[in-house]
């Protein structure tokens, strides 16, 4: 069985899908709205954020993604002013904002716990920041109405937070944070408390809102799918460090290192030694595949150095009959099959104790030759399907 014909390899391919032409970060002249410059934060000597540098541009939807405890919230709280960096600077509109207390920063945060004021009605929660700005009564009422309509909570202004569902509370928190028109909105795991269906709907609502308001959003999440769906760019964090920054497709299709490759979805990693590297093609010698692996690279690799080739399961091709000999070819036995409806995942044992995953889209309702457990099988992948990593 073959999942598709070989793709024609163009000389300068685009990595993944591009959602829109919006890419101010590619312009070296553009001044970012927020710039973290080698920001470090320690708690009692323990490092929480380690020399993190980051640019966030006006109107960008930026996601901080990483496992629990990697310092995402801390990085965000430093921007809001609740924590002070030990080293480095944070610039907003080119100005160092060190020493500016939270209430003087044009940055609003939507808290992970929502932090709605329980003694105030929904309308007065939303009006809270507007009152602090000293707006007139009329203006405040109008703006609160507008915000409640925006988050689809018309007519709920009189309720108290405890009379709302979790999803409604989340939207009140959102309305409250965007009502005073911050320069940048910080969202700390805004959807973590919602169920899956509501979370997916809300993700699209958030994107629509961000687009229509033309506001800059910084979202913190440990859900990679959420980050990929909503964000223009993602910063993947690891133990306080920024491991990679890029568009969702870039971090997925061109991860900078094994950590990112593994964190952003399933990946098969094949280890080997560089045997040849010329003309943008690297050949790895490896005991796993009889004729080694080949992949396309843009950087140079020293002969004899250790490297890995990372291949996503959906880029592996399954063959019931032995394919012609060549590189990127492994034989094995089907150890497990996970049927998901739209996709089927095959776990293939290529050596005792060593499994490789392959995912096939179920594009047809019927198959001629079904694959069963313990079937002998061959796996191949195209040279541009894998990413060569040295880290």
């Amino acid at each position: 069985m073959d999942t598709g014909p070989d793709r024609a390899v163009t000389s300068k391919p685009h990595v993944g899908a591009v959602r829109s032409g919006f890419a101010p970060w590619e312009d070296p002249q553009a001044r970012p709205l927020v710039r973290f410059e080698a920001v470090t934060k320690r708690f009692d000597g323990e490092i929480a954020v380690d020399a993190a540098s980051l640019d966030i541009h006006e109107r960008e939807f930026f996601a901080l993604l990483g496992p629990s405890g990697c310092g995402k919230t801390t990085l965000m709280r430093m921007l809001a002013g609740f924590e002070t960096p030990d080293e480095g600077r944070i610039l907003l509109d080119g100005q160092d904002i060190a020493g500016l207390p939270p209430h003087r920063r044009p940055v609003h945060m939507m808290f992970q716990s929502y932090a709605l004021f329980p003694h105030l009605s929904v309308a007065r929660n939303v009006a809270f920041g507007l009152r602090a700005q000293g707006l007139g009564k009329r203006e405040i009422t109008d703006r609160v109405e507008e915000m409640l309509a925006l988050v689809k909570l018309e007519g709920m202004g009189g309720r108290k937070p405890h009379q709302l569902s979790g999803g409604q509370r989340q939207r009140v928190a959102l309305a409250r944070a965007i009502a005073p028109k911050p320069r940048i909105l910080l969202l700390d795991e805004p959807l973590a408390a919602l169920d899956r269906k509501l979370r997916e709907d809300t993700q699209f609502e958030l994107m629509g809102l961000q687009h229509s308001l033309g506001m800059t959003f910084l979202i913190v999440t440990h859900d990679r799918e959420e980050a990929m769906v909503v964000a223009d760019r993602i910063a993947v964090m690891r133990a306080g460090r920024i491991a990679q920054v890029g568009r969702p497709a870039e971090v997925y299709e061109a991860p900078a290192n094994r950590y990112v490759a593994d964190f952003i979805g399933d990946v098969n990693l094949f280890e080997g030694r560089v045997e040849a590297a010329e003309g943008g093609v690297v050949r790895l010698g490896s005991p796993e595949a009889p004729q080694g692996f080949t992949g396309f690279v843009e950087t140079s690799h020293a002969i004899g150095s250790q490297a890995w080739i990372a291949v996503r399961p959906e880029k592996m091709r399954l063959h019931l009959d032995p394919p012609p000999a060549g590189p990127n070819r492994l034989g094995g036995r089907v150890a497990d099959i996970g049927y998901l409806g739209d996709w089927t995942t095959y776990v293939v044992e290529v050596a005792p104790g060593r499994t490789v995953r392959a995912a096939c889209a179920n594009t047809a309702r019927t198959v001629e030759r079904p694959i069963a457990r313990d079937d002998a099988i061959w796996l191949t992948f195209a040279p541009d399907a894998g990413v060569v990593l040295v880290e």
């Binding site: 609003h108 004021f117 003694h119 809270f128 005073p180």
Partner: protein, 294 residues
């Protein structure tokens, strides 16, 4: 299958019956009786030997005469209002003194908080009477306070045997009952609410008045009622620190009972006090139910 309530569920009813309902019924009965020069000094008394006729004449002899006397005598009304005024004033002072203390403790680090709460309760390990006597030693004309004032060249103060002395004693003795409920609400207040307020443009002071303070009102109400209710009927503090000038209901009851041997009057004052305190007690219950209902 229904599960039967365990016998323990009856315990509070039994306790309240024996130690509240029965004694209270006795006091109510006493307040409806008349004073006589005899032992015991009231009439009528239930005569079980006379059977139902005795019961009838017993109830016929009960009347509201004593209450009429109370209402028409300025002394009782004066001591009633004086009690409410002093307890109210003390409650206000307690709130003003107790709030900063509770707020300060709630803002401390975990370890310091435990120590401070402990220190607040620690004086209760010595006898209440000894602590009040100590105040006499401090406040009396040639006491510690006036010695200290004299040593810095200030004129002496007359506090003992005045209302000021009573207020000092009340505030001192009831402070923990004001601080602890306030501390309880302030301590469990979600820190992120303050951060949210500051994030939305409030100064730290603004955040206190718009968020912390309104959210601590249930604690303030609880503390105020817990202090106010017993302070109205307080006897020892006005007796020892207030001198003969200070009119408070606790002292009035004591006087009627022991000095005048007017048991019906003493009982009637006690019943009137309890009934008038029912209002704040019911308010307190309602408020607690609201807090717990959350």
């Amino acid at each position: 299958m229904r599960t039967r309530p365990p016998l323990a569920a009856l315990a509070p009813y039994l306790w309240l019956l024996v130690f509240f309902a029965l004694p209270f019924a006795l006091v109510v009965k006493l307040s409806l009786s008349d004073t006589v020069l005899a032992m015991p000094p009231y009439a009528p008394q239930l005569d079980f030997a006379a059977g139902s006729a005795g019961l009838k004449s017993f109830f016929a002899a009960l009347d509201l005469e004593t209450y009429r006397r109370l209402a028409s005598d300025d002394l009782y009304l004066a001591s009633y209002f004086s009690s409410l005024r002093l307890a109210g004033l003390a409650t206000v002072i307690l709130a003003l003194v107790g709030y900063p203390i509770a707020y300060g403790i709630a803002r401390c680090s975990d370890g310091a908080r435990q120590v401070l709460v402990m220190a607040l309760i620690l004086p209760f390990w010595t006898s209440f009477l000894i602590r009040i006597y100590a105040w006499i030693a401090i406040l009396k004309p040639a006491g510690l306070l006036n010695q200290a004032l004299a040593s810095v060249g200030l004129p002496p103060l007359t506090i003992l045997n005045t209302e000021a002395g009573v207020l000092v004693g009340l505030v001192y003795a009831y402070l923990p009952f004001m601080v602890l409920p306030l501390y309880a609400v302030l301590e469990r207040q979600d820190e992120s609410l303050i951060e949210a307020a500051e994030d939305l443009g409030c100064t730290p002071t603004g955040a206190f008045w718009r968020v912390t303070f309104p959210l601590s009102l249930p604690g303030l109400a609880a503390g105020a009622l817990i202090c106010f209710i017993p302070m109205v009927g307080e006897f020892v503090i006005p007796d020892l620190l207030g001198g003969s000038e200070t009119l408070m209901l606790g002292r009035t009851i004591w006087n009627e009972f022991f000095a005048n041997r007017d048991w019906p009057a003493a009982s009637a004052v006690a019943v009137a006090l309890l009934v008038s305190l029912l209002v704040p007690i019911v308010l307190y219950q309602r408020q607690q139910a609201k807090v717990l209902g959350r």
